[in-house]
């Protein structure tokens, strides 16, 4: 494989070219119980894709009991009042479909893909796990054990350790730093009551958005949806309001000691902006120039010109109340200083001199092309549409996104570079053999060394 990029998904919600984007028409309705239902006929392949998003996720986990959202969603497909876990698995596997429920930071999402011929079975199962999960005790214990083992497994992966450590430290005690999969102590104490409480608060129709994309007829699908979800009882919206995460002042180094690593994982960054920030689009263009595509400055300087890494990139992950900005790369332990010097020099240069007109245009075109191509699959279309509802983007968001990207001026880019690509206030995370790296790390700022066993608690 030639390249890997560590770019946030939200950043990839990038935009297109000169040509017009034609998105298939949608219908939007609100059921009596408050459920927002959006349907899109899309017949490229004989598939139906269901996606339900419920507002509220791991950022709403109470302090000290991280993982409530994660454990609740993991259990939803492990038993309902009408089906056992095994029956659910047998049914979805038999039709060759997929069914999952996951917790994000600010929302939970249930997704299911089935062949069009199996749409009734698919919807029956999909609605069952959303409406009637029973959280059987033995399934809770099984999942608890799995999640605990998952905490061990993640420590084998230097990339995951680096990302988790970055997230935890950049957000400090802010809920955006929650480990969605929980911690050892929280997983051990979570009870069925916690899960039920979270489920009853979040999975309610007037707090949810249902999108269906694929090979069906709108009128028929509306009837099916009304039958399946019509009796779901309303219970009010979840309040997602959070204070914005505080920016980190000065420089700080966190060094996770992985004594056997021959390569150092590097994350550098700070807090960023919220997803509706007026500068967000300009920031995404600036970021594409700095660390977005293969020809971005970071990749060009670190990989192409110096062979220091296999890949380097940067991204702005944005949520409702704020986000983070991070630079990601890795290099052999011997060249960490050289790599860090290049990163800091590039940041400085970008802040001081900004970008050229050619770079801006290239970035805009690149983003536009990616955006247009991203609308090929039912799952991507469904995901974009739930985002529009969830974040309150304008209804013509997909059709106008490219235009907005194109409207970003060079001075917008320069301003974004100066304002959001911080240099003096930076968190730096290294996953490396501490003994080896310590002398290199110390000049960057106060270093806290974290033992591998404590890196993921």
């Amino acid at each position: 494989m030639r390249r890997t990029f560590v770019i946030s998904l939200i950043l990839l919600a990038a935009a297109a070219f000169g040509q017009q984007i034609h998105v298939p028409p949608t219908t939007r309705q609100t059921l009596d119980n408050g459920l927002t239902v959006i349907l899109m006929e899309y017949r490229k392949v004989p598939i139906v894709y269901f996606r339900l998003v419920a507002r509220g996720g791991s950022a709403q986990d109470p302090a000290g009991v991280e993982g409530v959202a994660g454990l609740t969603t993991a259990l939803m497909r492990e038993g309902t009042t009408t089906r056992s876990s095994t029956e659910i698995s047998n049914t979805i596997d038999f039709i060759g479909g997929s069914l999952s429920v996951d917790a994000g930071l600010e929302y939970c999402a249930a997704n299911s893909e089935v062949l069009a011929k199996d749409v009734d079975t698919g919807l029956d199962l999909f609605s069952d796990v959303i409406l009637r999960p029973s959280f059987p005790d033995e399934e809770i214990e099984r999942q608890r054990k799995q999640s605990l083992a998952g905490l061990d497994a993640v420590k084998e992966n230097p990339r995951s350790i680096a990302s988790i450590t970055f997230s935890k430290n950049v957000y400090g005690g802010h809920p955006y730093g929650h480990q969605s999969f929980g911690t050892r102590s929280s997983l051990e104490m979570l009870t069925k009551r916690d899960l039920l409480e979270f489920y009853r608060k979040v999975f309610v129709p007037d707090n949810s958005i249902l999108v269906v994309v694929g090979d069906f007829k709108v009128a028929e699908m509306h009837n099916k949806i009304r039958t399946a979800f019509g009796s779901w009882a309303a219970a009010g919206k979840v309040d997602l309001t959070l204070p914005p995460p505080a920016m980190l002042r000065g420089r700080k180094v966190v060094l996770v000691d992985k004594a056997d690593a021959t390569q150092t994982q590097i994350r550098v960054g700070n807090t960023g902006v919220d997803i509706k920030h007026p500068d967000y689009i300009a920031i995404t263009v600036a970021n594409t120039i700095f660390g977005g595509g293969f020809t971005s400055r970071l990749n060009d300087e670190l990989r192409v010109k110096r062979s220091l890494t296999y890949g380097a990139g940067s991204g702005f992950a944005a949520n409702l109340a704020g986000g983070s900005y991070s630079i990601s790369t890795f290099t052999k332990n011997e060249t960490i200083k050289e790599t860090m010097d290049v990163i800091l020099e590039e940041l400085k240069k970008f802040r001081e001199k900004g970008a050229t007109r050619e770079e801006r245009e290239k970035a805009q075109n690149y983003m536009a092309g990616n955006f247009a191509r991203s609308l090929q699959t039912p799952e991507a279309l469904a995901s974009r549409m739930t985002d529009i509802e969830l974040y309150g983007f304008p209804k013509d968001y997909l059709e106008t996104y490219i235009k907005k990207i194109k409207a970003v001026s060079l001075s917008d880019v320069q301003r974004a570079a100066r304002t959001y690509f911080l240099l003096d206030d930076l968190l730096m995370v290294f996953v490396a053999p501490a003994q080896h790296i310590m002398p290199v790390a110390e000049p960057y700022g106060p270093v806290s060394v974290v033992d591998l066993k404590d890196a993921v608690q």
Partner: protein, 443 residues
């Protein structure tokens, strides 16, 4: 616009399948370059891909990894395009490029806005005709590939287990070697090796071009002829000889690495894609590990709770590859217990077969996977390219569901007995050590 027709119909027995067709057109230039085209105007984008009939299977000891290293060198300039210009032009044209190398195939592709097609054709022809191969770009990519090896294998326990699994399973066939190459060989590849490699394997008669998306197939042919047909054809590369001897007993190895949880990787010599047994083994792998209701998952992860995860898969290779099973243990659980369960399940299938329901389920899974690959332009190009090189003809990809419907429960019993037995088995056991106890040097 509807891209291809999938008529769904019911077959009485044994299962429900699609009649699938996709509208392809093809032509061949006089230098042997084959071109396959699929017009689809769903999104304003074109995917241009080239599949070369070469991979690590064509390598020899001493320069392992050259196929993949060479893949990197294809982006570093040619006669009329300076280094880095290729990607600059693509990204400025709303596109991107990428490539992958595997054992049997090297596949390049780029996606871009339709108005960039002529430029892309010119750049692609230029690099096929006159790629720049010099010391500076060889050294540049050597450094990058070594970092790639460090991130993907040396610092990744699971990849390391699989590297050992193939190295131990194959003693004569080049599947013994990792695609990324051994670190010592990456240091050993010379400029002359790279030049010879390009001449032999990157000739037009060793390649197939696949174009999918928003373009006009009628006007493509004259353009391709003008730009590509004067690139000289070369002697066909020598056929790879499969000298792999019959395995006559279990091979069992330990891997000591810094890790948290014990794990095991088991490989059995399987069947090549040209054999009907390949499809039967694919069905077996689905029955064993696709979804939570699969046999291995249900027993080891769900019921007995001794594993955190388990998976099985059959290599889709030109020569017989591995049917492999991977299991990661729950804390405190022993690999031996997982192995015992796995072998018991295999024995049970060998003796009693599987249920009709299990067979139907596997076939339904195959169908969904099949449909999924037609969602995007790059998905279609990738599928056609892989079938053209590995299965010998891209058109076989349209008949693959027929191959699966032919698989019977008796076939399943037979292939499990024949292939998945203890004589043909290689086992890698991960023995976790605390980080710091073991150290691996890879420089």
């Amino acid at each position: 616009m509807q891209m291809f027709m999938l008529a769904v119909f019911l077959v009485l027995a044994p299962t429900i399948l699609f009649a699938q067709s996709i509208d392809t057109k093809e032509f061949m230039l006089k230098n042997g370059l084959k071109v396959v085209m699929v017009e689809d105007h769903t999104v304003p984008s074109v995917c241009f891909a080239i599949a070369f009939h070469v991979g690590s299977r064509n390598e020899r000891q001493g320069i392992t990894g050259i196929s993949h290293l060479f893949e990197h060198m294809m982006f570093n300039g040619s006669k009329n395009y300076k280094p880095t210009v290729f990607d600059q032009i693509l990204e400025a044209g709303g596109g991107y490029s990428n490539a992958y190398t595997s054992n049997d195939i090297t596949f390049y592709y780029e996606e871009f806005n339709p108005d960039l097609l002529d430029k892309v054709l010119d750049m692609e022809a230029d690099r096929m005709r006159s790629l720049k191969i010099d010391t500076s770009n060889l050294e540049q990519e050597r450094g990058i590939v070594k970092e790639e090896r460090r991130v993907s294998t040396d610092n990744n326990v699971r990849s390391k287990m699989f590297e050992d699994l193939y190295a131990a399973s194959f003693v004569a066939h080049p599947y013994h070697n990792p695609v990324v190459g051994w670190m010592g060989d990456l240091n050993n590849i010379t400029l002359q090796d790279a030049r010879d490699y390009f001449k032999r394997f990157y000739a037009p008669n060793n390649a197939t071009v696949i174009v999918v998306g928003d373009f006009d197939s009628k006007s493509l042919r004259p353009k391709m002829e003008k730009l590509f047909s004067s690139i000289p054809k070369q002697a066909s590369p020598r056929q790879v000889n499969n000298a792999e001897p019959e395995q006559e007993g279990e091979r069992r190895l330990m891997l000591h690495k810094a890790a948290e949880l014990p794990a095991v990787a088991i490989g059995f010599k399987g069947a090549p894609v040209s054999s009907p047994d390949f499809y039967a083994l694919q069905v077996v792998s689905a029955i064993l590990s696709r979804g939570q209701s699969s046999r291995l998952y249900n027993k080891l992860v769900y019921e007995d709770e001794i594993c955190t995860e388990i998976g099985a898969g059959m290599d889709e290779y030109i020569d017989p590859g591995l049917f492999s099973i991977f299991a990661q243990m729950q804390p405190g659980k022993k690999v031996a217990d997982a192995e015992e369960d796995i072998y018991e399940i295999l024995n049970e299938i060998a003796e009693k077969g599987v249920t009709d329901e299990e067979l139907h389920k596997a076939l339904n899974t195959v169908q969904t996977d099949y449909v999924g690959e037609f969602k995007t332009n790059v998905g279609i190009a990738g599928r056609l390219g892989y079938y053209e090189v590995v299965h010998g003809d891209y058109k076989t990809s349209f008949k693959v569901l027929d191959q699966y419907t032919k698989v019977t429960i008796d076939d399943i019993k037979r292939v499990v007995r024949q292939y998945l037995n203890d004589r043909k088995r290689t086992v890698i056991i991960l023995v976790p050590e605390k980080s710091g106890e073991s150290s691996s040097s890879t420089n």
